[in-house]
Symmetry: C2
Subunit: 298 residues, 2 copies
């Protein structure tokens, strides 16, 4: 198997875009019939969640290179929700979509190893192609993730700068700001995981709110694939994302979650009879918005 960064850009090239869809399932926003089915009990909600994702992934598969299941919304339904997450991961892989599990795990030593093996080894869960991790616990806490990822040719996306308004309280702390310190570590860690390519499999989450900020982080981490959150509902747009991309259109993946998942609720799309076609319409809009960004990469 090729290393993660290569698989990622291959998928981006094949589908012709760098869009990622976040799977943040909230039963009160499921399309019908799944919404109705999810109403009565947690266990029925989990059954609906599993069925919904299979149909959703069928819609996404022809156009989308990578999906990002958000563990929290699955764990919210307990064991059956957790099983629905693993099913969605397995089904996405079956359809040829890469899977970045957004679980933001982080611990120390053998505990980090346990998380990494859980999601990369393929022994107990379908092997994710990549995982988000939280760096707060430091160098030796991240190292086991790096080692296990390398063994399984998997990727990591380390939280560097998040897009929420209160992110700065800790991420901007110190001089240089903490996020820069983390970015330098991500760059250093990534050098272990290049596999002779120009991109590392150690990426970063960069919720930059200004183009100059994104360019700054790109400079600090020249080889890191960047996960760019907040397209759509979180108020971000495609403008200003160019700095993440190179002239091949590689370097970033742009996430949208609710902008796609909730498309079936849009008043302006009520003339489209199926929820699947509304989702597909929103995907097309997103790809159209992203196209110039990727092409204008530096």
């Amino acid at each position: 198997m090729k290393h993660f960064a290569t698989r990622l850009w291959d998928a981006v090239d094949q589908k012709g875009n760098a869009a990622m869809i976040g799977l943040d399932p909230r039963p009160d926003h499921f399309p019908q019939p799944f919404g109705m089915r999810a109403q009565n009990s947690i266990s029925e909600a989990a059954v609906a969640m599993k069925a919904y994702h299979r149909e959703l992934l069928d819609v996404l598969a022809p156009k989308i290179p990578i999906v990002k299941p958000q563990a929290a919304f699955f764990e919210a339904l307990g064991v059956a929700g957790y099983a629905a997450m693993l099913d969605a991961m397995a089904y996405a892989k079956e359809l040829g979509i890469l899977v970045l599990l957004d679980a933001k795990r982080g611990d120390i030593g053998s505990t980090s190893t346990a998380y990494a093996k859980a999601y990369f080894s393929g022994e107990a869960c379908p092997a994710a192609d990549a995982l988000t991790i939280n760096p707060y616990l430091g160098e030796d806490a991240c190292q086991p993730f790096l080692e296990v990822a390398q063994q399984h040719q998997a990727g990591l996306f380390v939280l560097v700068k998040t897009s929420n308004p209160g992110a700065g309280l800790f991420q901007d702390h110190g001089q240089p700001p903490l996020a820069d310190q983390v970015a330098l570590a991500v760059h250093r860690w990534g050098l272990q995981n290049m596999n002779g390519c120009s991109w590392s499999s150690v990426g970063a989450v960069v919720g930059a709110t200004r183009p100059a900020e994104l360019a700054h982080f790109r400079k600090l981490m020249p080889h890191a694939p960047l996960l760019l959150p907040g397209f759509g509902f979180q108020g971000g747009s495609a403008d200003g994302l160019q700095a993440a991309f190179d002239s091949n259109g590689h370097g970033g993946i742009v996430n949208s979650s609710r902008g796609i998942l909730w498309a079936h609720e849009r008043k302006d799309l009520q003339h489209i009879p199926n929820w699947q076609d509304r989702v597909d319409f929103a995907v097309d809009e997103m790809l159209q918005a992203l196209a110039p960004v990727q092409k204008a990469g530096v």
Copy 2:
């Protein structure tokens, strides 16, 4: 229901100690017959994990006020492992042991809410009494955890200073160090969650390696219950933990995981025929080591 801090000190008073046992299940360290049963497949390992915890918790229940399941080791066995974790949580509660779920979750906005509801609401999982969270994402990322915890009279332990050797890379960053900045936030957040008591339900993980350091964090967070990791195998001892405790013996809970769980492997305990009695012996040793610490609190 009383608020978490009160429940915690009630349990400490009732059992007469502030010991916490970390449930870090590793099938290759299970006592027999569980070790044998766990060898053949992931699903058999998960069955053994569930059965083992029920017997282990029976041993711990008479003496131990609180246990700390470590999510990573359960997730390592997939859906059945996750189910074994929830079963251990439910069974501990049934036995009157408090449950601090060590999952170190952290995300933003509605995603943080989803995690908090998953583990505090009791809807899909047995309600944990408390949860560890990672503060890296900042103020508005932690706020949903605080709100949901408050609704369910649950506790939080925010990672402030961890005990691993590489923790300093980010936690010591800046002036004052980041960990101090986090401690000040924990104190501020905790004031929302005092419920008229002298202790808050917003606690902190403080893996202080020197007594002066622990005293420093106690001063920054005068109302926060402190989770003190690393007793036993991680090289910590009871010496120097006094600063966490007040004159009632409240203020800290001291965790041991492998020191207790692996007691059945100790060469010096081979004269004790049952693994349960070896574990109980190691618990007694721990409680003996802790007794003067709690009594000497300031």
